[in-house]
Amino acid sequence: MKIRRTRSGTAIGIRKCPTGIRGLDEITKGGLPQGRPTLVCGSAGSGKTLLAMEFIVRGAREFNEPGVFMSFEETTDELADNVASLGFNLPVLIARKRLALDYVRIERSEIEETGEYDLEGLFVRLAQAIDSVGAKRVALDTVEALFAGLPNEAILRAELRRLFRWLKQRGVTAVITAEQGRNQNLTRHGLEEYVSDCVIFLDHRVINQIATRRLRIIKYRGSVHGTNEYPTMIDERGMSVLPISSLGLAYRVSTGRVSTGVATLDEMFGGKGYYRGSSVLISGTAGTGKTSFAAAFADAACRRGERCLFLALEEAPAQIVRNMASIGLKLRPWVQGGRLRFHAVRSTLYGLEQHLVAIHKHVSEFRPHCVVIDPITNLTTVGDPTEITSMMLRVIDFLKQHGVTAVFTSLTTGGHAEQFSEVGISSLMDTWLLLRQSESGGDRTRLLYILKSRGMAHSSRIREFWLTDKGIRIDDGARAGVRK
């Protein structure tokens, strides 16, 4: 069956309920199926409760859809405390009648079973909670706890089936969480049998001692959706899912140019520098001056009155500022004036996802015109090459969408061919500047050339350059270097 789509990619016929969770609405093309239950499964600690809670809280706060959160594991006080750190103030939402919390506690040891029963009590409570706030959204976290509390599984299964049907009839959009089962079962008690409109799987694993979270949409009836595993982050603002890009390659391109920070280098790029919004790779072996070129670019951005974000993955900001002062680049005033922001972090401190999220966060907050990541190769220590490539793709995509001009430095380790780019991202770059050293006659000379620069005429000569106390000086071509 061919599914007709609107311009946003939403299938006609299925209405979507936006979650407000960063990234999730993009990969679901608009949100969860409205008026239907969605199953969220995953192992302990994978973020199921948080996803369910964020869905409810954002619904109440941002989409004018009050919600009910029925918890089977944590008391209402515990819940409120746990999510307070994410800026979710549950007591206020409850007081404003935007949220109803109910903690359902079932202790098997306190319950004697004699004869037939049903779970009408649960239905009554849920209905009461829904009516008390006029809820459009419901979260059940995790309804499976009933299996531990009630001895008769046959009754329970029949009642759960009835519950999910009932939720649909009430027209509420529901999130039902469930613990991951053994032996590749999605859930321990086979809830996927009952809730099958949309199934989201959360994963939390440790690779190379670094925790990574992933989210995958296993199933979404009647809708297209992203099928990949998406890196997911939980930080002080809640959950975020990081799609490669919902916009694909459709970002606007600019014909504007920005200075490289070195006049002679600008000339090599047809006299004007890099394209605004493009991605630039500066690669070279150790000590070739990669950071200096990156800093010159940052300095030029600040001179133009723009904001620049400098992600330092290797050196401390103070050290970069000191070192660059030695070649005549005074970065300190820009930092003090707020135009230049450093974000320094050891690459191994975080998983790739966290780095990605950190970049997202800084860019959305600081809204820089230019970004420097120095060096991206340091990230190879925290992920395998395919992961790095997919992360870089996400970073580049994200920066391009925001029209940010980005300079990445990349360390080429000795022994590799110069064009060998460890991160495998050269094809993603619009411009590639290669730095190298050569030793001859007892001297070490620094050389540079433009390996590629998409969409512009550029110099193809190898030039010598010097790091002087007045900045980077490039041989102006009068003393022609070695021809390529």
Partner: protein
């Protein structure tokens, strides 16, 4: 634990609450079963309060009611819960602690 012999507690020492949701055949059966058991074992010393959750839905939260019918023994303490239509008399007696478990 005291032996099977029933102590002589003061009247209305047994405070029971039966939660139902509508006057369904199952609810009526549960009530009849309960009254029979009480008359036989607790005559004159019990009080039964019936709470219909369809009329008072807010009360379900307080006693943590999920299943119906649920019989809650509020007194004597500790609180105990028995779910179902109370058709298994033996288990009701055990659940209410009228008869000691070992004696069943």
């Amino acid at each position: 634990m005291s032996p099977t012999a029933i102590r002589r507690p003061p009247p209305k020492e047994w405070e029971l609450r039966l939660y139902i949701a509508g006057k369904t055949p199952r609810a009526i059966k549960a009530f009849e079963n309960l009254r029979t058991i009480c008359e036989e074992h607790l005559a004159g010393r019990y009080a039964i309060e019936i709470i219909d959750l369809l009329e008072k839905p807010t009360l379900a939260k307080g006693d943590q009611i999920v299943a119906v019918p649920t019989l809650v023994r509020r007194l004597p303490e500790p609180v105990r819960k028995i779910i179902g239509d109370l058709s298994n008399t033996e288990r009701v007696l055990v659940g209410l602690d009228i008869r000691e478990r070992a004696a069943v």
